[in-house]
């Protein structure tokens, strides 16, 4: 909402009603988001009216269709040139429809689709009382082990609400990287955060850990968003507007008709700097950058693994998208202030994540720390502050999200009596028991480690190249060292799987339904394709690397 518009609104109170000019909303261009949110609402209604037995199927159907349709819409928009030539700002300046937005929305939607598949998996756990069960609690409200829960299990209840929750989260994530004013940014942040908090809490097995993860995630997330909001407030105070374009103008002083108040605040750089820092901090929390990363391991470990996979992939994509837009559209004039700081953050994030991961003993925590290290690598690309930087980050995000979902999907397969066997010691000799699964997981690990011919290498090379061209050669060296350290613990897992003797009481590998198989298969396929023939996607990212201002 730009200032003059508001002013008219303010004064029209006295004028005749007929004078109102309706806000202009480009529904077509917002269709992806609208479809998903609409589907989410439908999902809620389904919970309300569809009989319990068939809810699961309806929900899965609705979600899949909605996400597919939304993705189709994104493709259509991109084909329509909204990613490049016709990119512009929709919804009265609230939402940007441009290359990065569409690319990231597409990525998020695909990730979400695979996420839905893993959510809907019901063959892994043994059937309870003849009912197929998924990885979510029969009744989240009932205390674990209590009679009410037993009853719920016996009755074959399932928490089908997870699907609408997922859709709401996706809706928020779709807006987040496209948000073009601080208000939308904040709202989107909350819209996708709140459902995730809930999703973390509803694991079927290990519910205590699940709830603990939810509480931690919620409290820390709320804490972080409070900082973000304060930052937003300060930025607003500085620029007198929440619109990115306007703020950008004010920052580099190219603004017309300065009223005295603005003149006063414009002079006060502290407002700007502190505000920017706090807002960025909120986003860094979401991407899990050191020192705002500490929620990541606990939440990744405690949350139901399908949720972890979805969260790890999609949240990062959305958050980095928003970060990119904030830094490239709103604060380019401030580059010389935030670049050094981000430098430092990137370095500690790369090294911290890699180093701490070495001594982890739980596969999910290990992947959490690896995700932190990867956040560091992506930040290296962000710092490049160039079109290459943007495209490399986009590509990296795309590659990374599929590897992540695939990896966590594999984690769901390795189970023992207590559910998923996530302790590393139980993975010993997996390669002997089920070479295929081990091989697939090895592929993902190698991609994480950035071995050539995997998507991980292409992405890493892209961001490092961009960083080097952006004059951050030292950062590249640090990144290389961090990758060497990181390689160590990925290799450790491979050693464990292939070269260690299998334990007699070791876990079994459940045979999943086609749903999870698809997720894993797609993950592997993307990993290999982006590793061997990345050019097409690099082109895509390259075309999509221009922000609309």
């Amino acid at each position: 909402m730009s200032a003059p518009a508001v002013h008219s609104l303010w004064t029209t109170a006295a004028d005749p009603i007929s004078k109102i000019d309706a806000p202009k909303i480009e529904y077509g261009q917002l269709s992806p988001t609208l479809i998903v949110i609409g589907a989410a609402v439908v999902g809620v209604l389904v919970e309300a009216f569809v009989p319990r037995r068939s809810r699961y199927y309806v929900q899965v159907f609705v979600s899949v269709v909605a996400l597919a349709a939304a993705f189709a819409a994104v493709v259509a928009l991109a084909a329509g040139g909204y990613g490049t030539t016709r990119a512009h700002i929709a919804a009265m300046g609230a939402v940007a429809v441009d290359g990065p937005a569409l690319f990231l929305q597409g990525t998020i939607l695909l990730a979400a689709l695979l996420g839905v598949f893993t959510f809907a998996e019901r063959r892994l756990d043994p059937e309870a009382h003849g009912n197929r069960v998924d990885s979510f609690a029969a009744q989240a409200a009932s205390v674990p082990g209590s009679d009410s829960e037993k009853a719920a299990v016996r009755a074959g209840f399932t928490t089908t609400e997870v699907f609408p929750l997922l859709l709401f989260a996706v809706g928020g994530m779709l807006i987040f990287p496209a948000a073009n004013d601080l208000l939308t940014l904040f709202v989107a942040l909350e819209v996708f955060s709140l459902p995730l908090y809930l999703l973390c809490a509803v694991a079927r097995r290990k519910r205590l850990m699940s709830q603990e993860a939810a509480v931690k995630y919620f409290l820390l997330g709320a804490f972080a968003s409070a900082f973000t909001l304060f930052g937003i407030a300060l930025l607003y105070g500085y620029a007198g507007s929440v619109s990115y374009a306007r703020i950008a103008q004010v920052v580099d002083g190219s603004v017309q008709n300065v009223d005295p108040a603005l003149a006063g605040t414009m002079g006060n750089d502290a407002l700007l700097l502190v505000g920017a820092a706090l807002t960025v901090m909120g986003l860094l929390f979401k991407v899990g950058a050191v020192p705002f990363h500490m929620w990541t391991p606990d939440v990744y470990q405690g949350a139901p693994t399908p949720v972890t996979g979805f969260m790890a992939a999609a949240t990062k994509v959305a958050a980095f998208g928003a970060l990119l837009r904030l830094l490239y559209v709103v604060l380019p004039g401030l580059r010389w202030d935030w670049r050094p700081v981000m430098w430092a953050v990137a370095v500690v994030t790369m090294l911290g994540g890699a180093i701490v991961a070495i001594t982890q003993t739980d596969i999910k925590r290990l992947l959490a720390y690896s995700s932190i290290a990867h956040a560091g690598f992506i930040l290296a690309g962000v710092i490049a502050t160039s079109a290459e930087g943007i495209s490399s980050v986009l590509f990296y995000l795309g590659a990374y999200s599929f590897v992540t979902i695939g990896a966590f999907a594999v984690v769901t397969l390795v189970r023992d009596a207590g559910g998923e066997a996530t302790h590393l010691s139980k993975w010993a000799g997996l390669g002997r028991r089920s070479p295929l699964v081990a091989a697939v997981f090895a592929v993902f690990l190698l991609a994480f480690a950035g071995i050539p011919l995997t998507s991980g290498f292409a992405g890493k090379f892209a961001v490092f190249k961009a960083a080097a061209q952006g004059g951050a050669g030292a950062l590249v060296v640090v990144g290389v060292i961090a990758s060497a350290v990181a390689a160590f613990f990925y290799i450790r897992v491979i050693v464990l799987m292939f070269f260690s003797e299998p334990r007699p009481e070791g876990p079994t590998v459940a045979v999943p339904s086609p749903l999870t198989m698809t997720a894993i298969a797609v993950g592997v396929a993307v990993t290999v394709v982006l590793g061997v023939a990345p050019q097409y996607f690099l082109d895509l990212a390259g075309q999509a690397s221009v922000f609309v201002r």
């Binding site: 804490f223 820092a277 901090m281 705002f292 500490m294 929620w295 010389w336 180093i355 001594t359």
Partner: protein, 648 residues
């Protein structure tokens, strides 16, 4: 004609290939194949020889370029042969004596189930040795040089199940390797100096470069020669090399291979002539070695080791002569040939004796054998007379000339060298007489069981000393063994006279080696007479010690010198302490360093990273509030940093 040259080498090489790859099915005929091919090579040699005689002294040289071996930019090594009088002399010696020893071995190795392989190795040796003397460039010579080293390694260690034999073989190869390093460095120097290492160009251009360079090259060649020819300081391997079968000792470690060093020096005469300092070193080495070998020869009770010492000493003579330059070259080669005859004969005789005494080598366990093995006695005796330089026999002619030449060097050097040579002659007479007496005369000490002596306790005891003792039954060897001995005896008797009278040999070689007549400070006659005198003295002393008095079956403790000489003048002890022990310590400490230091650094880094990880991990203490603290602190730092960036 040229094409026949290749045949010289091809024949024995083929033999080696067939015999070594042929497998057991050739066991029955293997030795015949080997002998025939050796003989064939000799025949070819004779043909070439007659052809050569047919031509005038100038165009007697034959060259044959087979193919370009290592063609690399600015570097050219060919497989090409160069047959002149010098090489021809060696060809005949090698293939001739070689063939005889093949024949001898047929009998000697009769009861060895690996006889086929033995002949394979012998043929291999012949091929390598012929390549050595026929090569027309130093690199190809190097191939033959190491080839004979390999053959000698295989043959010394032929009885590999005896640890002593295996060790001796290894030692021989290693010591030779040290010499080879000298040769290879010499070749590199030639390459950088002349841009080639073919005999023709190098020797032709030897004059065009600085003396320093030439001296360096010459000394490196000398080092090589020392290794191959067992000259001080690289002589230690020859004694142990006697672990090999006796025919091997006769062929390789007496007649041919060990003289390769002399060939190398004479062949490189042009270089040495231009480097007087190097020549001086050569003469010194020769003189020292001839005394050293002689002294060692006096102390040994093992007949073969005694002969080995004598070989060392005789080669010392040759090297001395070669060091004297054009004056000596011809005589060095002449002594080399005659020595080839009588020393081979002596070794074969020794072998024959051992054959009859079931492989006893300790001369103190011999005695009075002349009536049991007359042929051996006679041939051995003739060889003996030849080597001590009994007037009229071959040793007399060649050695006498060398002594003359040594004196002719003139000045103090001449006196010293000549004196050394004379002294050597005396000692030679002494120890050879000793051998003769202990073996063929005196009472038969082999009848009663031996008692191991304290002095010899470190030497590993002979087989008989353990368990029940059965005295041997000495007997004459089969004709296959005696015939070669007889032939060689002829050689040792007449070769000298044939060569020496009328300077036949001199005129034959002169075109190649060149010759200068020296003028000894004393007349040649005086030298000759004094030679004879010292000879008689030596023999007399030996007779006094071993002829009149009975020889104790157990070696007396003996004087300090004797004991030292028994231990090769402590040379091995030196090697052991300095090289072997030192080397062991060095390698052991290096292994430790590699494990702890080089590897440790890396492992240490890894460990420290791990420790850091463990410590950082503690921060993740599970308390939401502490996470919040880190976030709050992070936010504060972020803000502060941003403001700071603006401030600075």
């Amino acid at each position: 004609m040229e094409n026949l040259i290749a045949l010289l080498i091809a024949a024995p090489l083929l033999g080696a290939a067939v015999l070594l790859c042929g497998g057991r099915r050739l066991d029955a005929v293997g030795h015949w194949i080997g002998t025939v091919l050796a003989a064939a090579s000799f025949a070819v040699g004779v043909v070439l020889f007659t052809d050569m005689l047919g031509r005038s002294a100038e165009e007697r040289t034959l060259t044959r370029h087979l193919y370009s071996w290592i063609p690399v930019e600015g570097f050219r090594a060919d497989v090409a042969f160069h047959l002149d009088q010098l090489s021809m002399t060696f060809v005949l010696l090698i293939s001739g004596v070689g063939t005889l020893i093949h024949v001898y071995s047929i009998g000697y190795m009769e009861h060895d189930e690996r006889r086929r392989r033995f002949f394979g190795y012998l043929n291999l040796f012949l091929a390598a040795m012929l390549l050595l003397v026929l090569a027309d460039n130093y690199l190809l010579l190097y191939v033959g040089w190491e080839g004979v080293g390999l053959a000698s390694y295989l043959l010394i260690g032929f009885w590999q199940h005896k640890p002593s034999a295996a060790t001796a073989a290894k030692k021989a190869f290693l010591v030779n390797r040290v010499g080879d390093v000298g040769l290879s460095i010499a070749i590199m120097l030639m390459f950088t100096t002349f841009g080639t290492f073919a005999f023709g160009p190098v020797l032709a251009a030897a004059g065009d470069t600085g003396e320093g360079k030439l001296t360096a090259i010459a000394l490196m060649l000398l080092l090589a020669a020392c290794g191959k020819s067992a000259q001080v300081p690289l002589q230690s391997w020859l004694g142990d090399a006697m672990e090999g079968p006796t025919p091997v000792s006769a062929l390789i470690h007496a007649a041919t291979m060990v003289t390769a060093g002399v060939y190398l020096i004479v062949r490189s005469g042009a270089i040495f002539n231009a480097a007087p300092d190097a020549q001086l070193v050569v003469t010194v080495v020769g003189a020292v070695t001839l005394l050293f070998g002689a002294v060692v020869g006096c102390a040994k009770d093992d007949i073969k080791k005694a002969l080995a010492g004598s070989t060392m000493s005789q080669i010392g003579y040759m090297v001395l002569a070669a060091g004297l330059g054009p004056i000596g070259y011809v005589f060095a080669i002449m002594h080399l040939v005659t020595h080839g005859f009588f020393k081979a004969g002596l070794f074969l005789g020794a072998g024959s004796v051992m054959h009859g005494m079931n492989d006893e080598v300790d001369m103190r366990r011999y005695g009075g054998l002349r009536k049991y093995m007359p042929v051996t006695f006679v041939t051995f005796g003739l060889g003996y007379l030849a080597i001590i330089g009994f007037p009229g026999l071959s040793g007399f002619f060649s050695k006498d000339k060398i002594i003359e030449a040594a004196f002719a060097k003139g000045g103090a050097e001449g006196w010293i060298l000549g004196g050394a040579a004379l002294l050597g002659a005396a000692i030679t007479a002494y120890y050879m007489t000793r051998v003769m007496l202990m073996t063929f005369f005196g009472e038969e000490r082999w009848r009663d069981a031996p008692t191991p002596s304290p002095a010899e306790s470190d030497v590993e005891p002979a087989a008989e000393t353990r368990g029940e003792y059965t005295p041997p039954h000495p007997h004459e060897s089969p004709s296959s063994m005696t015939i070669p001995m007889i032939v060689l005896a002829f050689g040792s008797v007449f070769a000298g006279a044939f060569f020496g009278i009328g300077d036949r040999f001199l005129h034959w070689l002169e075109p190649v080696t060149g010759h200068a007549h020296g003028h000894p400070p004393v007349s040649a006659l005086t030298v000759t007479l004094s030679t004879v005198v010292v000879l008689i003295v030596g023999v007399a002393i030996a007779w006094a010690q071993y002829g009149r008095r009975p020889v104790p079956a157990v070696a007396p403790r003996g004087s300090l010198l004797t004991r030292a000489a028994r231990r090769d003048l402590l040379q091995d002890d030196f090697n052991h302490v300095v090289l072997v022990r030192g080397g062991e310590h060095l390698t052991r400490s290096l292994v430790y360093v590699d494990h702890t230091l080089v590897d440790g650094v890396v492992n240490g880094t890894a460990a420290s990273v791990g420790g850091l990880s463990g410590r950082l991990r503690k921060l993740q203490n599970g308390y939401a509030r502490s996470y919040a603290v880190s976030m709050f602190g992070g936010a504060a730092v972020l803000v502060a940093a941003t403001l700071l960036m603006r401030a600075v």
